[in-house]
Symmetry: C2
Subunit: 357 residues, 2 copies
């Protein structure tokens, strides 16, 4: 079906400009032409990230960039506080463990955000090298209060490593103003691109750590990536050139719309989804104070299996929504509303949902 609608939390539908860019003829990745493209993309990413620091682009999906962020700034044995509110928070802390960090877990109930008092108490209880935090927890539909939580860590000189993969672009995030040290993002979310590129910004403090960090790394070595970018306007390893064409196209669209306007569009659509879902008599899963502007989770009626909703949404209406992840599998359904999202897509989705119910 060509008029199918992806209402999942990534990948999202692709704008025509992105599809056109993907189809362009190939160019060499060690040419001046690619170097200029890389520099333009980097500048556009800095705008999206609201940072003057480097933003590096990796040919990988978001999980690869999580790994890059961790192995490029930490050493085996480093004490790390892993603040986890869902499936992706578990993943971030687990990667740190796999590479030898000494991880202390601070977990919130799934559906809740991390609490400031709990995080402050945990940070006070030990001497941590870094705090890991998910901006937007895709699995539960919760957005953490990153600004406030990061401020507490910053006061203690604890490096903040933020997974903003599903949120960046769709949910307000100001890397420099909020003093975020390491911020990870992915292409297939609010950036309206296919999966396959991922991004990491690093503050000056993070770069200082990077020069000391001793976790083993090669493909995901951000120190090497920064040197290639600065010295040669290249990536250390062959980049996905076609995705860079598309990256420039998508980031230009976001910049032209205005990053704050993009955040507002996501907030408007999210409100419509939340109101609409409740109007249909369904219960929202995530704590309303921290409901995500890019994905809405809700409980199926009368404890039915979520597939009783997601299947007919797809088969009868051509609209892809999804079920739960991890321990929420079979318990919740989720609607993604990010990227190209607009009011028309939201009402089409809500109308279909009403018909299905």
């Amino acid at each position: 079906m060509d008029d199918t609608l992806l209402m999942i939390p990534g990948p999202t539908g692709l704008p025509p400009q992105v599809r056109e860019a993907l189809a362009r003829p190939m160019i060499g990745h060690r040419t001046a032409e690619f170097g200029e493209l890389l520099r333009r993309c980097t500048a556009l990413l800095q705008e999206l990230y609201r940072t003057g620091d480097d933003v590096l682009v990796l040919t990988a999906s978001g999980t690869g960039a999580m790994e890059a962020a961790l192995v490029s700034t930490l050493s085996p044995g480093d004490k790390v506080l892993s603040v986890s509110v869902g499936h992706f928070g578990e993943r971030l802390g687990t990667i740190a463990e796999v590479f030898g960090a000494d991880v202390t877990w601070l977990r919130a109930e799934w559906g809740q955000a991390a609490e400031l008092a709990a995080v402050a108490a945990a940070l006070a209880a030990d001497d941590y090298a870094a705090m890991l935090l998910t901006q937007n927890e895709t699995s539960t539909g919760v957005t953490n209060p990153v600004r406030e939580l990061a401020a507490v860590a910053r006061q203690r000189g604890v490096l903040t490593i933020i997974d903003a993969i599903s949120g960046l672009g769709g949910v307000e995030l100001r890397t420099d103003d909020w003093g975020l040290d390491v911020v990870v993002a992915g292409s297939q979310k609010a950036m309206m691109l296919p999966p396959g590129l991922a991004f990491v910004s690093l503050s000056e403090a993070a770069w200082e750590r990077a020069t000391q960090a001793r976790m083993p790394r090669f493909y995901f070595d951000l120190v090497k990536a920064r040197a290639s970018l600065h010295d040669k306007a290249q990536t250390p390893y062959t980049p996905n050139v076609s995705m860079f064409f598309a990256l420039e196209a998508a980031l230009t669209m976001l910049r032209d719309e205005g990053i704050e306007a993009v955040w507002q569009r996501h907030a408007r659509c999210a409100n419509l989804v939340r109101e609409g879902v409740q109007r249909l008599g369904l219960r929202l899963f995530a704590d309303a104070r921290h409901a995500s502007n890019v994905v809405t989770s809700f409980l199926p009626p009368e404890s039915a299996d979520p597939s009783a909703i997601t299947k007919p949404m797809w088969q009868e209406h051509g609209i892809l929504i999804t079920g739960g992840q991890g321990k929420l599998r079979g318990r919740i359904a989720r609607i993604g509303h990010l990227g190209t999202i607009n009011e028309e897509q939201v009402s089409r989705t809500l109308n279909a949902l009403e018909a299905v119910l």
Copy 2:
């Protein structure tokens, strides 16, 4: 320029079918539709690899798949023989070192292939867990006699880990017949795709090692990738869906042409390039007995800088060839002839080279 010609050893020009596939609308990566696409791509990759074993697809470039191959089959302290004949041989062994392998280097002079007697002697001198070998050394234009070298290792029960990134599809390689344990490939070479996907096959012996291997790994965990493929027809982390559309298109073209016919086309074109370059009075760099069928290296006339050739080739003729890498930078020039390569492209390149000289 739209009629530019990429005569570099990857990325190559893209066929129209690949460009069309890249531009397709996005689909969900946890759907039955993607699962079927993944299974079809896997079957086509098995044909290209000439293997009945699993071939796993990673969203990364070739270097990422090198890392995946090593960290998924080795443990820190494992004794590894790294047979290196150039820049990419150095890279493969270096990654093993970074992740804690105890690496013994067996190096050939750049421009030469690895010698069977030297490899046999090195293997006899210690008890190695694995031997690392480059099939086609892009930096020098040399193809190693993989079949013979791997046979020696196999006799000793030494696992063979082969970097076939630039050769697979363009140069004969028969994974099962030759008993190759781990074979790494990349999308942007003979497969006529953009960079961004990479591939690893593993033999039964390699899988046995994988279950014991203790190098730290997360994004590049092939055991997890195999489980996702078998259990759910998925990838563990979000794949570059658009590249899978293109992968199926390109592999179907190669299968329809016939894999052996594709090898022969590369051999024919390589012969024309080597003859043509010599006819113009230039000296080939690589040992003629092991000259690569996907990239030809040659010395510029009278020790001129290679850029005296590569620059006007690009600026005056729109044909991109390249210089040397690593310690051959400034010493040799290289012409890639792989992927969509045909006789017309070769003669256009040789005519331009003649004009430039």
